[in-house]
Amino acid sequence: MANVSIDELKQLLMENCMLNIPLEEIKEDLPLFGPDGLGLDSIDALQITVALEKKYKATIPNPDIARQVLQNLGSLREWLLRQTA
């Protein structure tokens, strides 16, 4: 995979989660989960995980790793970049 852009990850979020704020307001360091962030829940996490497998063939091995990888779009992007490097 040559590159993964933040915009394409935003797109992935939009397609798979119920977002209550506009895409432009999602910065790469905004926490995806929790009350002070985007406010996604565990169902969303599952959706994202499945979507990542489908689109990038990248498997998040376990929930602990998932928590770290899915912290924000920046951490997700960096992790994805390394999965096929």
């Binding site: 995979m1 790469e28 360091d29 926490p31 929790g34 002070d36 962030g37 990038y56 063939k57 990248a58 498997t59 091995p61 602990d64 790793i65 928590r67 770290q68 990888v69 912290q71 920046g74 951490s75 960096e78 992790w79 390394r82 999965q83 096929t84 490097a85």
Partner: protein
């Protein structure tokens, strides 16, 4: 005999900062430097709170035009690539602190010392300080150079000799190891190491392993400085020589391997043992310590050059505030010491938190609650003079870290390397 207002031992950033500022204020200054410049030195990443001093010295513009890599922030990641925090100075700091530089010290230190020369300092290089005789009204300094010996008098001596700590060792002054364990660093310069895209290309990357860490500092278009810091015993058990120890640890980390996949070594591996220490007293009747000579702390937050510059400036200010060549009073000595200890104290607290896996989990999950993320960003930039609100938030960060050890507030960090999947992602 020559007589100077101030003699400075050492022509690194602390000595050059103090020298430039004193000479520009009309003092006669001599700087005695042991080595011929340019010379290799470790400590290549600056943090923005050193910028003020570089501007005050009048050397900022020259640095801007010297091709140093612009550093806009710092990023922290885990050795298994799972977990990543990138900080941008500009998000929480004003324009003067929005960026700084990554510097190859051979070049940076030469520019600074040369600037001190043009500011009016006399320089003796290469020359060693052989002895200093202290009397009630001055110090008698004897130096030795290839041309022979020279003696001169000085009203004050600034010890900016780095970890040689000339005065501390000669006067056998009491010091503390600050309770930090003995670490060892192995490092080298590489070409073709992985670079971040866009404006993040100048970020310093800290890769945190379960025990220890890597630094990756992009120095210019090609060169990247890479080093590993680990407990001495642990690192020695990783191989017979520096190179094998280094690669042993790189291969154990998917993040480090990824970043060094195509990297080519330039030059040799170096090593440094890091004994953190701090002298109880940073000033005496006619002497002041600046930079590493006053204390050396773990380099994880790139604090070295900033502390050198700021303490160099503080030493100059202290001398400039003295009425005609009088001894530094007990009160002045105590105030200087307190300021130096305060400066390094903030970093010490952060270093403790960094090496504590529970506290680091909070660091890697900075909630926007209570502006924790902003607080960490300011700390990473080197803000050691704290407003009341900032102090409270730093305290809160420490309390959260303490809580984390008892109940999990931030998810614990997992350093395990994912099992390499056998099926490639490519069809």
């Amino acid at each position: 005999m020559n007589k100077f207002d101030v003699a400075i031992i050492g022509g690194g950033p602390a000595g050059s900062a103090a020298g430039s500022l004193l000479a520009r204020a009309g003092k006669s200054v001599v700087i005695v430097e042991r080595e011929i410049f340019p010379r290799f030195h470790i400590g290549e990443s600056l943090i923005p709170f050193g910028n003020d001093v570089l501007r005050e010295m009048g050397v900022w513009n020259e640095l801007e035009n010297s091709g140093f890599m612009k550093k806009l922030g710092a990023e922290f990641t885990l050795s298994n690539s799972c977990g990543f925090q990138r900080f941008w100075f500009r998000n929480n700091l004003g324009p003067n602190h929005a960026r700084t530089f990554q510097v190859e010290r051979a070049k940076f230190d030469s520019i600074l010392l040369n600037h001190a020369l043009h500011s009016g300092c006399e320089i003796r290089q290469p020359a060693l300080v052989e002895s200093i005789e202290w009397s009630d009204h001055q110090a008698l300094v004897t130096i030795r150079s290839p041309e022979g010996s020279e003696a001169f008098a000085a009203s004050y001596v600034i010890d900016a000799s780095g970890r040689d700590a000339w005065i501390g060792k000669k006067l056998n002054l009491p010091k503390s190891d600050l309770g930090l364990s003995k670490k060892m660093a192995v490092f080298a310069h590489f070409e073709n190491a992985y670079r971040n895209e866009g404006e993040a290309e100048g970020h310093i990357t800290i890769i945190r392993m379960e025990e220890g860490w890597f630094w990756m500092i992009p120095l210019d278009e090609k060169k990247t400085s890479v080093g590993i810091v680990l407990n001495q015993e642990k690192l020695k058990s990783c191989g017979p020589d520096l190179e094998s120890r280094f690669w042993n640890r790189v291969n154990a980390s998917s993040e480090a391997s990824f970043r060094l996949k195509n990297a080519k070594l330039i030059g040799d591996f170096h090593a440094a043992t890091d004994y953190s220490y701090r002298y109880h007293q940073s000033a005496g009747d006619r002497w002041i310590m600046a930079g590493d000579a006053a204390g050396f702390i773990d380099p994880i937050f790139s604090s070295g050059v900033m502390v050198a510059l700021r303490s160099g400036r503080l030493a100059a200010q202290t001398i400039l505030a003295q009425p005609s060549h009088e001894k530094l009073s007990r009160k002045v000595q105590a105030r200087y010491t307190a300021k130096i200890h305060q400066m390094t104290g903030v970093f010490l607290k952060m270093i403790e938190l960094f090496y504590d896996n529970d506290a680091f989990a909070v660091f890697m999950n900075p909630r926007s609650l209570f502006k924790l993320r902003e607080t960490i960003n300011c700390l990473v930039a080197g803000q050691t003079e704290m407003s009341f609100g900032f102090k409270c938030r730093f305290q809160l960060f420490q309390i959260l870290s303490w809580l984390q050890r008892r109940i999990t507030i931030a998810p614990r960090l997992f350093f395990e390397e994912p099992v390499k999947s056998t099926s490639s992602a490519k069809p």
